[in-house]
Amino acid sequence: MVTSTATQLEPIGAPRDEVESVVVRFAGDSGDGMQLTGSQFTLATALAGNDLATFPDFPAEIRAPIGTTFGVSAFQINFGARKIATAGDAPDVLVAMNPAALKVNLGDVKTGGTVIVDSGTFTARNLKKAGFDADPLADDSLDGFQVLQIDISKLTTEAVKEHGVSNKEALRSKNMWTLGLIYWLYDRDRDPTVNWLRAKFGKLPNIAEANVAALNAGHIFGETAELPVGMRGFTVRQAEISPGLYRAVTGAEALAWGLAAGAKLADLRMVLASYPITPASNLLHILAGMKQFDIVTFQAEDEIAAVGAAIGASFAGSLGVTSSSGPGVALKGEAIGLAISTELPLIIVNSQRAGPSTGLPTKTEQSDLFQSVYGRNADAPLVVLASSSPSNCFDIGIEAVRLATKYMTPVILLSDGYMSNASEPWLIPDFDSIAPFPVQFAETDQAGEDGFMPFTRDATTLARPWAKPGTPGLEHRIGGIEKQDGSGNISYDADNHQRMTDLRAAKINGIAKDIPELSVEQGNENGKLAVVGWGSTYGPISRAVGNMRDDGYDVSHVHLHHIWPMPQNTGELLAGFDQVLVPEMNNGQLVKVLRAEYLTPAQALNKVNGQPFKISEIEDAIKGCLDGQSGEAK
């Protein structure tokens, strides 16, 4: 049952090797439950004290015919005894539940890596569906990998026999068998998963027990079966992690909670108006389940209606939020201009995806920075923020609410498909320790002789007052036509338009004073090379810079959470480096903004293939910048 391309076999129960970090990818058909498997393994790994990061990869099709390559679903986890920055470049271990999963994922596996396949699925029919001309288990396709061919289907069916489940149900537990094996491989505790299974299938005890049996059987198989050379259990030491209570969190969850927390801190009702679009819909779904937090969600007829309703909600004194992905945000441009002109708070969340146009909806990209900073008619400045990791979405969500309400301005918050779906452990903050920033609405006595003046400004922030309909004495009318400075009445006056344009720009630029200065994440404050990132490239850049610094390179990591306006010292900080490299999952956008703003001779490192950067790709680029340069440090 167990065969191997390697010929020698190791004795059963060999001692475990210690490894610093590992990347495992579970891959199977959409129906094979790979996402569940992955999240259980994640939890077990977190409980084992490793640091980790994960990335689920869903198929583009809703439910592709079983066994086809475009129906393959995968879940990758990177875990280790050190700080884990990304979900990992190349898997050390690939679990392929069918030929299609093997076909799609094999190319990514590290040379010499381990490939575990359910050989029971390698039938002629399945091979054909996956597009194999010949059986890869039978030819030299897998040379160079550690291959574990196990008829998992059959072993699972046998293992669950006694629980009286149908054959179909039995095969549904294959993923638990596999999970059991991987638990053995990395010495994880099965108990939480057993508990979870029993809770999940509470009303179907035989299904629950069948799954438990499969899990145990896989584990026992690892302990007892004869595995190929080098294939023995591993241990991964606990990572040094700040103490406290942790959970796994995806970007979408953290963002939903961050926005909700922000609204609470601002003492506002939140109205989220959104139109479904991949990969942004999750935020709508999560917030739709949080009504008890005084959150109203509204599935509008389209993206324009969504942003319109959000702005209407803000006009009425709530926090208006709208969310979409690139093509949907494109539709919101005109209305965002109105929010800029009327100076109302508004949050626009963009979960970016690969484009242009419909593009690759399920693939990631960070190519909407231009659209965010520049993508509106006329001079229309607003705030642009970008979160750097799943858990950071919580903080950025709060920051977005703070700036939107304090400065009466729309804020675009950039996330991306990768970040929304990826998860990482999160040291859960104490909500009560976060300083609130309650909104002060204008009050009746603020109306002067000539009535209320909605376009007067706070001297420091340049924000105008926010007057809630329903408040006597503050009746006022606003709109998208240019407004008289102060009174807010329609004004066609030439000089007033100049003044208002300048004020709008000054208000946004002034926010630079109210955000943290830019500092280096790793490395020196000046030197040979700064690698400047934004958004979800944080992880790979951080690891790559760390590795290169370990190798003696003079390189620093700088990361921007505030894309517009940028921290006041940005130009100055970057001027301290001989070279500036800007890796982006686009064709070069932040790099252009930095060059335009500071004349920094920044160089682009672009990747637009729908996949996050590999650490090695950034390392190579750093070497490209620094090798061949003279001087003591590389």
């Binding site: 009702r269 009504k291 969504a306 319109g308 309703a309 309909p469 004495g473 009746e475 009318r477």
Partner: protein, 340 residues
């Protein structure tokens, strides 16, 4: 102690902004009618919000002393929906035009109507684009010569009320700029209705489409050109109240009959039934010269307002989940502790 407030007057609803429509524009009359309606209703101005899109008609909010939002072209229903979602207590009035509401904004109007968001939607129909200087609109008659259709327009026009009925609207009515006595009654009915009340108001664009409704909207033509609808009343019209509407025998069609001729009496006439959507469709389709134009409340059906259903869910979620506790939320699901 609060002194009893003086009853509100129409002028309490006028803002200090100079009204800038063309002299003679029908919109002036509507402004008057609306201000009178609000005074009659007696809502305090601070609780009223006027929301509009873009067009001559959409300048309306500036002239009201209430809260107002002059938004962007065609999207006013979306903004208004957001206002109601944020604060269902506000009394929201929407002003749109035939271009704003039915050309660029048709979809938002459609959805506000079907969702039944509680507001009054007044569509100022002058069958032309006023603000952009006279292009034809989706309600313009075929053959309309305009700057963009120098040889005459070719598209079949929409009927705003038939559109609203097709959109599953729960309240559909019509009024006429010149008929100041009639309009406030219709608007009050619209206001009283729970949900999206759609009122088409014919208005004369004196510059680009003068006289579009002269066959029924003028003093001399109203009696013959118009049918005033009253729920439960027989459909009689004409200067001498000598004409009526009945179902054409044996057909699913209306016909105009002369009272007293061929033995036709009031009993043969249709009684208006606001609750019958099919009848509303038949009435809405009537056009001069063959038929009188129906004005008044064509259709009215009791229904729940969208935003009140929304808040019932919010309340239910609160009841089921207790007070929102962020620390509990963040700690829900699987957690683990990393020790010191």
């Amino acid at each position: 102690m609060n002194a009893p407030a003086a009853p509100l007057k129409a002028k309490d609803f006028a803002s200090d902004q100079e009204v800038r429509w063309c002299p003679g524009c029908g919109d002036y009359a509507i402004l008057k009618g609306v201000q009178k309606t609000l005074a009659d209703i007696g809502t305090p101005p601070e609780n009223v919000v006027f929301i509009s899109g873009i067009g001559c008609s959409s300048r309306f909010p500036y002239y009201m002393s209430t809260y107002g939002f002059h938004t962007i072209h065609g999207r006013a229903p979306a903004f208004a929906t957001g206002v109601k979602l944020a604060n269902p207590e506000l009394d929201v009035w929407l002003v749109t035009g035939d271009g704003d509401g039915l050309s660029i904004g048709g979809n938002h109007l459609l959805h506000a109507l079907r969702r039944n968001v509680n507001m009054q939607i007044m569509l100022f129909n002058n069958e032309i684009y006023g603000l952009t200087k006279g292009q034809y609109s989706p309600t313009s008659k075929i053959g309309t010569r305009s700057p963009s259709t120098p040889m005459g327009s070719l598209d079949r026009p929409l009927s705003p009320v038939l559109f609203a009925l097709g959109a599953n609207a729960s309240f559909v009515a019509r009024a006429v700029d010149t008929q100041q006595k009639h309009m406030p009654g219709v608007l009050q009915r619209a206001h009283a209705h729970q949900g999206a009340s759609f009122v088409e108001i014919y208005t004369n664009c004196i510059v680009y489409n003068d006289g579009a409704f002269s066959s029924f909207a003028e003093k001399g033509t109203a009696a013959e050109g118009e049918l005033l609808l009253e729920h439960g009343e027989p459909m009689i019209f004409g200067k001498d109240s000598d004409k009526g509407i009945r179902m054409k025998p044996g057909a699913l069609e209306l016909e105009v009959v002369q009272l007293g001729v061929d033995g036709i009496g009031e009993d043969d006439l249709l009684l208006h039934d606001e609750t019958n959507r099919v009848l509303a469709g038949l009435l809405g389709a009537m056009q001069n010269p063959d038929f009188p134009v129906a004005v008044g409340v064509l259709y009215c059906e009791a229904a729940e307002a969208y935003e009140s259903a929304v808040y019932q869910q919010v309340d239910a979620a609160r009841a089921a989940n207790g007070n929102a506790d962020f620390n509990a939320l963040l700690r829900s699901g699987s957690t683990w502790t990393v020790g010191d």
